[in-house]
Amino acid sequence: MLGMSRSLATAGATLSLLATFAWSPVPAQAQDPDVTLEFVVWNYSLDTIADNVRLFEEANPGIKVNVTDYTWPDYHDSLVLRFRGNTQTDVIYGGQDWLPAWAAAGFLAPLNEIAPEAIEAYRADLAGFTLNDMTYDGNLYGLPYYADTISFIYNQRILNDAGIEVPTTWEEVADAARKLKANGMERPIVYEFNQELPNFFDAFVAQVYGRGGDLFDENGEAIFDQPDNAAFQQLSWLRDVIADELVAFENHESTIIPAMNSGNHAFTIVYNYVLAAMNNTADQPLAGEFALARMPGEAQSTLGFTKFYAITAQAAGDDARREAAWKFVDFMAGPPYAVAKRWAVEKGLGFGQLPLLEDEEVIEAWSSWVLMPTLQAQVETAHGGTWKEWTAIWAASFRPLMAQAMIGEASVEDVMSQGATRWNELKAQMAAR
């Protein structure tokens, strides 16, 4: 039943996507420049990307789009190499954490300078944290590919069978895990532990937001080295539950899905679309058992973030490429938001385009894998991270330190002290320029 409604929703979304582009006012073929755009993506759902590109090319006969994909772990480095090597790159998937550095280095072009009127008109449709994530120095550098929150996921059958209430604080999570362990579950929490991925830091920030704290004060100074800070407390919590052998590690979100579906774990912390995959009746044995709870902690807030389509400065420097790149980005992320809707319906990807929140097909499709009121409450309390020019650099050095503290190789005090010192050094270096 769940699968059938999902299939119908998918078919509906595809049809509406086709219909939208078949009937949308397409510029005359003769006016289109003869351009081949280089579109660089990470390799999530390449079939859907290729199909969206095909639809764009059919609607814009003068423009071809060449898709180059990298794995998620390699994506950032590959982009850096392309930028450094001046490899032709026109439209990319960008991320909120990389934007300040890439924009400051002059590798990306502001969309409000490429299509000022359209961008002004679209702003009202975009969620607040999404706009924040795509903005640097007052300029908007992207339109959303997807926007999501990091959420606390649990297996409701396991909790029901054990008579455990859904935990609302981290202390309750630890207590529930200890009870499940006493009942025979070896490691009730499964955690994505890959210190080289941004996810590793993002998930931690989401937990800190759950506690109602932040790593930085309003002036951007690091405050997480203070023992009463929520980040300090959360890293200590992680160290303790890992030391108590309550946590199993997986090194990628894709392996969290089968791990949770093995029935050997009750809790995890992942992006929402991973919940959609966990509850997919087509290929997951325990589909339907997983639910989203608001992030534990006093505030029950979480991290919201946005991945977006951005146009490179290289493309913007060429009239024909700039025009073609904007048409492509507008097609992929602009009104009537058909591509974003397709991602939402077929893959469960979140979105930054607010009108989709009221779209019946989206609501129907999402209701098959998540309780919409809980998700809505989580999204409403989510807020964006602190993204500065040096955040990505700093996080790269802080993530291994965090990992050391989590596994007990270094003390939380030392790690937080080193991390805060490094943050403040980078901040001062940047200010001195």
């Binding site: 480095d77 490691r187 210190q195 590690f249 089968p258």
Partner: protein
């Protein structure tokens, strides 16, 4: 009459040019970059910085640990790879049913890219559903999962196992090539003289393969010292710094921290240390090691 000795520079010129193009130029560029502040964030600010990058990386939180890890990794894996290579080659020299199939299977890891090797071994070592923990449970040897890739000591050992597995086939091939040069009559004579297996190895096999063993030790020491892909894909250098090697640190400085000057400094240090390692090993060799081979060649 054409003789290679008549135009020595002509003959060595072409390969030397290739070596210069693909080795000397990149190393020279790395050295040049390491002496400048080359930051991704500021592509237009390429300033001379002297030895600042070297001071920065050596004093940084990761260099000393990654150097220790690299030296330990090299010291463990290079001899094990060569030792297993010798043992496997000797086994494959024997005549038994399925030898041809086994020879092909043994060589398989050699043709796999490092990242594929890493993925295979992640499947083996995965704590929840990995093959190793499953077997150990079935055999009743463990009652709870062993965190192969998240315990610092086990992670280092696990990565070393994956690296050794991927490198052994090359040693097998070269040792087998060396073994094929031994006259079977020597074995026969040794048997008739009453030599046991160890004595046959010591006095017949070893003299024929010792030069190759040294070459393989040098090669595997350098491979281990500069390995990157298996570590990156299996553990990301973690947990913490447990499996961070110097080559991984080059990547981290350059691409994670955007500091190509610092990354180049680590890279040049690796090149310098690898060069020293080659010189040290070569000088430690007995002077007559290659004598027999040279005599035969002449």
């Amino acid at each position: 009459m054409w003789r290679s000795a008549r135009f020595p520079f002509l003959w060595v010129g072409a390969p030397l040019l290739l070596v210069a193009l693909f080795t000397v130029v990149p190393i020279g560029h790395t050295l040049w970059t390491s002496l400048h502040s080359a930051h991704f964030l500021f592509p237009d600010e390429l300033n001379w910085s002297g030895l600042d990058n070297y001071r920065k990386v050596i004093a940084g939180p990761f260099f000393v640990q990654t150097l220790k890890n690299s030296l330990l990794f090299t010291a463990i894996t290079a001899p094990v790879v060569v030792g297993l290579g010798i043992a496997t080659a000797l086994l494959l020299q024997r005549h038994f049913l399925g030898r041809a199939v086994l020879r092909s299977v043994v060589l398989l890891p050699w043709v796999l890219p490092g990242t594929i090797t890493a993925v295979l071994w992640i499947w083996v070592f995965n704590p929840s559903w990995g093959m190793l923990n499953t077997w150990l449970r079935v055999l009743g040897l463990i009652s709870s999962s062993i965190p192969w890739l998240s315990d610092p000591n086990l992670a280092f050992a696990s990565v070393a196992v994956a690296h050794i597995w991927s490198q052994v086939p090359f040693s097998v091939v070269l040792i087998m090539a060396a073994l094929s040069t031994i006259d079977p009559a020597l074995f026969e004579a040794a048997r008739i003289d009453g030599a046991n297996a160890w004595q046959r190895f010591r006095h017949v096999v070893w003299p024929a393969i010792k030069a190759m063993v040294v070459v393989l030790l040098v090669y595997n020491a350098l491979t281990a010292f500069t390995t990157y892909d298996v570590v990156y894909a299996m553990t990301g250098g973690g947990p913490g710094t447990a499996t961070s090697l110097l080559s991984f640190q080059i990547w981290r400085e350059s691409f994670s921290m955007y500091d190509f000057g610092a990354g180049s400094a680590v890279a040049f240090l690796v090149v310098a240390m690898a060069g020293l390692m080659i010189v040290a090993i070569t000088r430690a060799l007995p002077s007559d090691l290659f004598a027999a081979t040279e005599d035969e060649a002449s």
